[in-house]
Subunit: 129 residues, 2 copies
Amino acid sequence: MKNNLNLAFDKLGGLVPVIVQDAVSHEVLMLAFMNEEAWRRTLETGEAHYYSRSRRQLWHKGATSGHVQRVQEILVDCDADTILLRVEQVGGAACHTGYRSCFYRRLTADGLEVIGVRIFDPKEVYGSG
Amino acid sequence: MKNNLNLAFDKLGGLVPVIVQDAVSHEVLMLAFMNEEAWRRTLETGEAHYYSRSRRQLWHKGATSGHVQRVQEILVDCDADTILLRVEQVGGAACHTGYRSCFYRRLTADGLEVIGVRIFDPKEVYGSG
């Protein structure tokens, strides 16, 4: 896809927040960040690339697990400072914990309650080491 | 609601990104940020409070327009560094442009295409001044 959009990377130190939804169910899967390189690579390849804040480098989601995200649709917010990606999540789970969505817990008066669906065991996908 | 969750406010200079969904349709309405005060005020009042990065102050969403967000459910991500709020959006529109969702535009090869639903005319809600 052409890069015909000027995103406001300056508001957050070179990063733009990206909300990731399942393209079919529209379930919110995760939130990540893109820098300009990740945005360009996502448009070029059709697979979601992010900027890993912990590793401080480009992150091709699924490069390790094979669970890539194939971009189906890109929405932009009113200020062009946030992206909403609709993706086909290969493997069915976006979260490194094995849950379909990173938002698998709900806040209750008694603490956090797990409400998400676990798709895989992280040990089997990433190894036990 | 009790504040029984330690959110990772340190990762983004005191802020946590908040994805806001309609509680019934689960449509993604907007992305905003909370600082600790906004988080506490949200839990105390049951209405969404954010931190306005442009105005650099606490932002009680809807205080001007009356279009407050009544919090129905709070989800937390795997790293406790992002919040997903499910809200009742009073007035039906979350975006200051009058669209139901801030994500009312889709990226196409020819540019941005408006796909959202406009609920109100901003001039009538905020005044023409």
